[in-house]
Amino acid sequence: MDTRISRRALLKSGGVLVVSLGLGRLGERVVRAQPAPADAALGKTVAADAVDGFLAIHPDGAVTLFSGKVDLGTGVRAGLRQMVAEELDVPIARIRMVEGDTALTPDQGSTAGSYTIARGGVTIRQAAATARGALLRLAAERLGRAATDLEVVDGVARVKGGGPALSYGDLIGGQRFDLPIDPKAPRKKPADYRIVGRPVPRPDLPAKVTGQHLYVHDFVLPNMLHGRVIRPPAIGATLLSVDERSVSAIPGVVQIVRIKNFLAVAAEREWNAVRAARALRASWSTGSGLPDRAALFDTVRAGAVVRDQTIAKHGDVTAALAGSGRLLAATYQWPIQTHGSMGPSCAVAEVTADRATIWTASQATHRFQSAFARMLGLPKEKVRLIYLDGAGCYGMNGHEDAAADAALMSKALGRPVRVQWSRQDEHGWDPKGPPQLLDLRAALDAQGEIVAWQAQAWLPANTAGLPHIPLLAPEAAGIDQSIGQASGMIQQNTDPPYRIPNVEAVVHWLRDTPLRPSNIRAPGKIANTFATESFFDEVAAAAGQDPLAFRLRYLADPRGIEVLQRTAARLGWTPRPSPQRADPKGSVLRGQGIAYVHYKHDEAYVAMGMEVEVERGSGRVRVRRVVCAHDCGLIINPDGLRSQIEGCIIQTLSRALLEEVTFDRSRVTSVDWASYPILKFPDVPVIEIELIDRPDEPPVGAGEPASAPVAAALANAIFDATGARLRTVPFRPNRVKAALEARRA
């Protein structure tokens, strides 16, 4: 057994939960939280409205934060600690953290939507403020002084200016607060912050860069089997027969698991499981349920609509578009994309007759607790999901499916099972970011003012009340689960952020979408902003206006204006209409582009500027420089924030330049990094970020917003360089070259 795991134990000490995290070392240790029958006896509540749900103070003054939100690689493991350390007045190094364990942490919803700091962290901060108030009252009582005479320094309450003192450990160590979170508990003033707002290093990096960090991929249990699931050659195919003799020569193949169309092999040793999965001969029915990829967007446009939803409406768009002004129209298309996690999904499950424990990198352990209970035929309280880090998922990748695979296999085999997906499994079977189709129309009046703006979007509907995205294993095994589809709030930002007298944005919600969809980073909003901000540039070009000045003319929000102005200043924006005319004959064309988003219309403000070069002969696009001004309110960890913005920019440049899931009529055909290439080091631009801190504004999310304007800024820069307008992603060289040739023709 892995010795690192044996060190991690859940200990009972003085009636309070102590989680051994190896704090003495630089690297964070992920807790090996035993499926502890002691949990109930310990009295650890997971109530999301109780201080004890989130915080425990130990006799030695250490603090454990129980967070329902998890660190998917985003760095909130630092940010959430900062918020607690600040509000509780304890050194950050004294805070341990347990994440996403359904038995130990409150249900704070899934870790998605850029809400970890904005919602999860704000709740935790209020719990800490409530706790600090309670501790001060306790200290005042014990010291016989008024609470207002006391101050807290590094977890010690003392009389101001020196005198008698009591540490948090003395005051409450090992005992519960038994307090609801008080929404009115006074918090520190931002002006007094000492920890929030400063760059704090991530606690997990020393272990991550030395091979000591525990990922779910590394987690092992005694007596554990290695499982591999054999997916059908066509989506929805029926398993007809299995030739078990085809793997009989492979040593240590314990069993073939076959439950209707769920087919898996288990072996004592992992490589033998891999060999068996490859060698196992099975015959399947054929399947051809997928549309013709060449006509994907025709299929989307012709899809069955379950309902139309008006996202925004003011004025009279129909009348304004029918007026005497100049009419513009364009269609934008965003392809199906995959999350593309570097580590294929993996999970470990231990299912017995009366309980189940599942170790998973799921972004939604609480949400899936009921789903796994239902799948396994167990009461919800007997099913525990424990979060362990995976490779970054950027939405719902295959983590939950791998967990379901492992759970089903463990139940069938009566032993713990680890399932590790292959690269082909991950690219082929993780749920996908769905295709998005948008039609935009606008009218300019005789003075060149925008008088009407209309957006229509064709997006897959989110099934009402769907508890979770259906999983592959129960579907294959014929186990009842809720049927439907969901891909997040993909309708947001379909309407423009500008003051235009007549606006209408309508979503045609589609009953179906070709491949199982899920949420992928900044769900929907990257494509919607691509369409909105590209089209705004088209309108600006038609009006003969500088794209930056044209935006500022229609923008009222001072925070929006500021990010645009700061981006333009840093980029060295040249005010002029696009496209540039300086060098129309050169072999390399250079351009500038800008785009803006007010994320979800009520979160972060982001402007993105780019300098690009386009090779006329090859159609190859090189992004030279990206400038981003970013305002997400109060900044918790500026370095963590920069890291997230950099990630948003690079990942979305990759998606915009290169990425498209391919498929035939049966299945996905882009199943590795050769058929689904992503951006590589030589193509990564210089990135310059301007952070705007607003300490008196609430902190809003930063894991997604900077993704939204990337593709539009890129398309606008390509247009500026070449005069060719790209309206379909990805901008691979052949597509760019075709657009350049079409423009010349």
Partner: protein, 156 residues
Amino acid sequence: MARFSLRVNGVTRSVETDDPNTPLLYVLRNDLGLHGPKFGCGLDQCGSCTVLIGGTARRSCVVPVRAVGNQPVTTLEGLGTPERPHPIQAAFIEEQAAQCGYCINGMIMTAKAWLDKHPRPTEAEVKTALANNLCRCGTHVRIVRAVLRAAQALRS
């Protein structure tokens, strides 16, 4: 059952395997408990599994254990520890050059072999050296900075 003697991180280890073509990655992770190298693709495409074999960066997902022979193997764990990180590891911490961290093994091990031969790299050269290592979180600019910082630290 085939038996192999491997010299890994300076220690000679004996391993048994049913299949002499078992990729080294599985032996390192499952038999020797070395989790620095990661399974990323099994196809020699991403670099997450990179180790040093005889000083050369190799993709352990496609190196059969029988092919290792007497050459010394170094994994991420063999470079340093959280308490005593190798200068390259220290540079990655200093630059906060990881998000999920899954690819970082490949970045550090590839950089180690490459910096041994290219002690004074430019930024463009670092990017080229890492061109076949994939990162999905978008940590590239920090990784490049970390390698440049490490190069400087290793020179001084």
